[in-house]
Symmetry: C2
Subunit: 300 residues, 2 copies
């Protein structure tokens, strides 16, 4: 029976981030930099429509303009790249979101790296990822930043913290690893080829899991009192109908963990809030870049 664990309330953390965002959006507007996102979906929208509507609602609540565009799956590669380049050079657009999934002939990465790094509010451009490696976080991948934010909200000291990250994707597992290294944590990254994940997770003060497999992490794999950040979002069928669960077996983990994220209501809401925070950062970076370009040069 769960007794001592504390639930990490993603919705409350997200609400605080959104409040800060709203006030910064207001300031930027008075400085001539209204924040505006353009979302690009391609092909079958069913999969992402609800997700885009949620982003739109969240953005507009904080005063960020949101334009949802949709293009047919058959759109030509050059045409779409031209559209993105047009948005890059449009001063009225401060952020661009490429919705997934993308049609097969338009690889996600090719589109993502066409977005100007200063308008890359999803934090996925290679140069933004590379900046994190250099401990210079501008806009990080939203899910990774959100997961680290949840760990920080526990108040635990990251210096010297032993952390195991399960999952090594380029936009979740790996960025979590170097965001944490930048704060002094000792990080081990496990994945499907790891011989014995439990060996690593059992000695960790904090465990992150982002794999997409319900029940992958059980209480027996945790050190008593550890923080468990569950990034998985899986839909499963139960006797009571479909249900959304994470990658952890919540019951057994809650018995052992000191802190645990619920799914839903954990990393998810903070991820959306992080997208809005990145949107403010993007507008601010564009403002600073503009100012430095148009300032009179004083040096030779």
């Amino acid at each position: 029976m769960p007794n001592s664990y504390k639930l990490l309330n993603g919705r409350a953390i997200a609400a605080q981030i959104r409040k800060d965002v709203a006030s910064e959006v207001e300031t930027l507007k008075t400085e001539g930099w209204p924040v505006k996102l353009v979302s690009i979906s391609m092909g079958d929208v069913e999969a992402s429509a609800l997700y885009v509507r949620n982003q739109q609602k969240a953005a507009e609540k904080t005063g960020i303009a949101f334009e949802a565009r949709h293009y047919p799956a058959e759109i030509g590669r050059d045409e779409l790249l031209g559209i993105i380049q047009g948005l890059n050079t449009d001063p009225r657009v401060t952020g661009i979101i490429i919705q997934r999934p993308t049609p097969k002939h338009l690889t996600e990465r090719r589109l993502q790296r066409t977005v100007h790094p200063l308008k890359d509010v999803e934090g996925m451009h290679p140069s933004n990822i590379g900046d994190i490696v250099y401990n210079d976080l501008k806009m990080g991948p939203c899910t990774a930043v959100a997961a680290v934010e949840l760990l920080k909200s526990t108040g635990v000291n990251l210096e010297g913290l032993e952390v195991t990250v399960i999952g090594h994707s380029a936009i979740v597992g790996k960025p979590i690893a170097f965001l944490l290294m930048a704060q002094g944590a000792t990080v081990t990254v496990c994945h499907h080829e790891t011989r014995n994940i439990a060996m690593h997770s059992r000695s960790a003060d904090a465990v992150f899991v982002a794999v997409g497999k319900p029940g992958l992490v059980t209480g027996a794999m945790l050190k008593p009192g550890a923080v468990l950040i569950d990034i998985g979002i899986n839909q499963i069928d139960t006797a009571d109908g479909p249900k959304v669960v994470g990658d952890a077996d919540f019951e057994s983990c809650a018995d052992v963990a000191g802190w645990i994220t619920p799914v839903p209501g954990g990393v998810g809401p903070v991820t959306v809030a992080t997208l809005l925070k990145n949107s403010v950062t993007a507008a601010r970076l564009q403002r600073d870049h503009y100012a430095s370009e148009f300032a009179t040069r004083t040096s030779a």
Copy 2:
């Protein structure tokens, strides 16, 4: 007494890489893409002069042209950035090297990110680092790539290999970690804030150390038969005069390790060879980029 360990001969591996480079340089030349590096040193050259001369000698031996430029420490920031931009747009220059140390008012990173990513033969531009995170290695940081090359030369299977990396710099420790993750290894990155490095290194099949502290790794910290890749280069005083050593205590480590790199003669020579290999890759990428820009577009 060391008995069963095998020495990883960096000089032999480097010779093989240089041989391949020389033949590719020849091919590129016949295609209209002669490979040429420009090295930029600033201020006090004493520290880097020998290093630059070695690069020059190694480059010219493989048919790569090498121009060593030197600017006074007082050079203006805008002037130097303008020079780099000039080299970026000069079709006769296929690679640019920024020598360290740089004067205080010209931060290394600012200079490095002014180099065009396709001419970044040192593999240090954030977008090149970010590409490695995406498992898309174009030009990686030379020392990190060299260290991984030495591990591979043992023939050990990287899938599921347990690796401990000691040192988490942006251009050595961290890139080693994701180069290895891309190959299926389980990687733990330790550093000065790690509580107990030995706990991690003792369970590792391979240990990389890049910290700059002689004697940091001892035999007692290794699992019998492990591969030890020593990236440190430290000058120490001994009764017989100054001596160059790595970060490992060679005697005690050689007793326990299965494979070990000597210092000097291990990672060092392979690092220089990797710079030349990157130079060929850079020229090839520029050739491909040029070709795709000037090809007739067939799609809309």
